[in-house]
């Protein structure tokens, strides 16, 4: 996580006052697991339950999307992002696109 960047998925950063807005910032990434892990997950599917390979893959990807969004916000001189939302979509077999977006603002 970038230092000193406030993130929030509410309209404001709780307890702080927004002084300026820099518009929409976003970050996205597409990730795929290697074929062996795909096979492993397919076998794990036999009993169902948590598929750790995919959980990890998507967590890494989501963190990267967040990082990129925060870089975008930092580039504009913002110190907080409000109303952060996530979206996931499967773009191809075994690959997922993670997308994070929000509004870059400065808080006092």
């Amino acid at each position: 996580m970038s230092q000193g960047m406030h993130l929030s998925n509410t309209e404001t950063v709780p307890g702080k006052l927004i002084t300026a807005s820099f518009g929409l910032v976003q970050g996205s990434t597409v990730r795929a697991k290697n074929v062996f892990k795909d096979i492993g997950a397919g076998l794990k599917n036999m009993v169902g339950g948590e598929l750790k390979a995919y959980t990890e893959l998507l967590q890494e990807a989501r963190n990267e999307a967040l990082q990129r969004m925060m870089m975008d916000a930092q580039g504009r001189g913002a110190n907080a992002i409000v109303n952060v939302r996530f979206a996931t979509s499967a773009v191809a077999g075994g690959a997922a696109e993670l997308f994070a977006y929000g509004t870059a603002v400065t808080v006092e």
Binding site: N45, G48, L51, Y54
Partner: protein, 166 residues
């Protein structure tokens, strides 16, 4: 003698998918019940403590806020082959598809529980504006891919109130 052996092998081979699905049913049920039981005991351990997770858009208390941060938890779960097969058969007739329920409910429950644990452990008083999102992953456009998984993400804003009451 060799003839009966050959016939036996052929029968065994033909019954192989049946064994696989029966195994999936048996071990799937065992594994999933174990997961549910584990979650049940973990939730019991927190019984009686206040649940700080809400989907309110504003803090519930008008106290001074010390800090806040975005918290999230995610998990991907999949139904077993047996559940997918019975779900597929049920799909022909329509109506309730119970076989998918188990893992979908589990996925949502477990991330909300983990978010609660995370909030308590990091010393946050409240998590507001909780959102739960569902995504379908690894559904291949072609080919007979056995993997069907759902990904759940729960995220919200965690709040720590100032110690001094005012």
């Amino acid at each position: 003698m060799a003839g009966t052996n050959f016939l036996f092998c052929q029968l065994l081979f033909a019954a192989l998918p049946l064994f696989i699905y029966l195994g999936s049913w048996l071990f799937g049920n065992l594994h999933q019940n174990k997961l549910l039981l584990k979650l049940d005991t973990e939730e019991k351990a927190l019984e009686g403590r206040a649940n700080p997770v809400t989907n309110l858009s504003k803090p519930s208390q008008a106290r001074q806020i010390e800090s806040s941060s975005l918290v999230m938890e995610s998990i991907s779960v999949g139904p077993s082959w047996w559940q997918m097969m019975t779900g597929g058969i049920k799909n022909l007739f329509g109506g309730k598809i119970h076989s998918y329920d188990k893992m979908l409910t589990y996925g949502r429950r477990v991330i909300i529980h983990r978010l609660r644990v995370q909030a308590i452990q990091s010393g946050f008083d409240e998590v507001i504006n909780l959102r739960v999102e569902t995504a379908m992953i690894s559904k291949k456009s072609k080919g007979d891919d056995k993997t069907a998984a759902f990904e759940f993400t729960a995220y919200g804003t965690a709040i720590r109130y100032s110690a001094s009451q005012d």
